[in-house]
Symmetry: C2
Subunit: 317 residues, 2 copies
């Protein structure tokens, strides 16, 4: 056990709790309000939280997300929990960081469908937002930058420390069950850790989905190649974090693996050329359940009232 811990600790680190400094508080509070504000969507009923529900697993638990006018999107929504640890954002890494990422969903036609100019107009029309932006950014002229900067600051607080695995990693032998430790052993020795490593057990590299055997999917997503335009990057995706994975079903970029068992079996076969026994699968899945951390306890945000000129929602636009 001590031996396993020492080995694993070289490749995986626990989640550090977040400390919100006094000068960041106001920005984080603004970002939280915006994250939960459906007025950032054309329909008026979709917020970031709709698809990345922080009261659940930071996801929507759908195969692929559903947005404006009930349109299905092309890929599975990844969790916002611990997303600050990712090397880049989105399955293909096309956004460099959380701030850059946040601009995307607001205007995406199958997500919030709100043109950026209109999003800014909405926030500008809400006195309670203007006063916060004045206090934080020193101007009463709202920009998209303020919106995404604040949302990103809030998202950076969405970490989930103290999972049973993290507690075991920090020395508590009793924090994981014998079955979970056995599962970790297989996870480490068979090679899952080659890709699912770092503090997020993932999120820090692009790897091919279907290394040994190709992955058959009806999803159009080609992953990293969409950004680099290189043929050899086809089917490379950002390795997703395995933290809180029991909460973030269904699995893979296309959401086609309904259960963790299915995802583990496929990973074994496609990534390692290995067929796990039912017992091995059970142990690995038990270990994956040990990766559920403590979700942030927080105050429900109260959003500022619309102003006299706040543009009205248009659900059928």
């Amino acid at each position: 056990d001590a031996q396993l811990r020492a080995e694993v600790a070289k490749l995986i680190q626990p989640i550090q709790p977040v400390v919100i400094s006094a000068d960041q508080k106001a920005k984080v509070e603004l970002g939280k309000q915006l994250f939960f504000d459906p007025r950032l969507s054309m329909s008026g009923i979709i917020s970031c939280n709709t698809c990345h529900n922080v009261m659940l697993g930071g996801v929507d638990n759908l195969k692929t997300s559903i947005g404006h006018k009930w349109q299905p999107g092309p890929v599975n929504a990844p969790t916002v929990f611990n997303s600050k640890l990712n090397l880049a954002q989105f399955w293909d890494g096309r956004a460099a960081n959380l701030k850059e990422q946040a601009a995307g969903p607001i205007q995406a036609p199958v997500e919030m469908a709100m043109p950026h100019t209109l999003a800014v107009e909405v926030i500008q029309s809400i006195p309670g937002y203007v006063s916060q932006i004045q206090a934080i950014y020193g101007t009463d002229k709202v920009s998209l930058d303020h919106i995404t900067d604040a949302i990103a600051a809030y998202e950076e607080t969405l970490v989930t420390p103290n999972s049973p695995f993290d507690r075991w990693l920090r020395g508590d032998d009793k924090a994981m069950t014998a079955e979970q430790i056995a599962g970790l052993k297989i996870f480490y020795e068979s090679g899952c850790v080659a890709c699912h490593n770092g503090p997020n057990l993932g999120g820090n590299s692009y790897q091919k989905m279907g290394v040994v055997e190709p992955y058959r999917s009806s999803s159009p997503a080609e992953g990293r190649a969409a950004v680099t335009k290189k043929d050899e990057d086809r089917w490379f995706f950002k390795v997703p974090t395995l933290r809180n994975v029991e909460l973030t079903y269904p699995y893979f970029h296309d959401g086609e693996a309904s259960t963790l068992e299915e995802a583990v079996v496929l990973m074994g076969r496609l990534q390692l050329g290995r067929t796990f026994s039912d017992d091995e699968v059970k142990k690995i899945v038990a270990f994956l359940h040990a990766l559920t951390g403590e979700r942030p306890q927080d105050v429900l945000p109260l959003l500022p009232a619309s102003g006299p000129n706040t543009p009205r929602p248009d659900p059928f636009k």
Copy 2:
């Protein structure tokens, strides 16, 4: 002013703050989780809070609500804030109380579209809900009754005390502006208070929409007649509360009045046979803005993780 206060206080009372007794705490907490839980919807992305957003005005700010598969419903969503004060629930009062009401939206095809048996199955499959229900109700066999009872207990805590008007009513002359007091005077003297009275400035009787002049609407809703089956009850609706009305646009059961000004002008004409001057409208609207109370400050609920057999959402069913 003291005279006006004495007169008004005979007909309208302030909101009493809620005290959650020790033995109610667990039930209110369970009800809060359920109120925010989209797993009570067929699609997995609609919760009570979607249409009755307690971070905003307890409504969705749409003309009529949009639910499962983006279907528009027939009427405007009333606020859950202070709804416990209503004589009955729904525009036509067809639900006697909050507990009875909550069963409706869960299975309504244009709302959450979740058959009751499936809703119960979902909750039964979530260990974290079963343990709460065991602790509160003394059984581990979940029923719809548990779900609606807990949700109602949570809703009963959704009151908004200390509006400027309430503070004025309790003796603080400075709590409302001169314009707002002037507006209250017109509200009282012209006859608005004949229907919009009691602690909720409404919610305590059914009245005709279109007393002096008929109300022309394309909405199919006939109001109270749908329940009593009496012709003379056509176009009678539960008088809505005016508390927080600045947050609950658009107005009337069909959502056809986009602004408070429009609603006030129409009320004057249709209910009182009176044409208000622009100045009178401005004052009344200023008074209506004084009815915004303090929304509950609360902790964000963390919802219990799905179990191995939790039915999966089906957004296209």
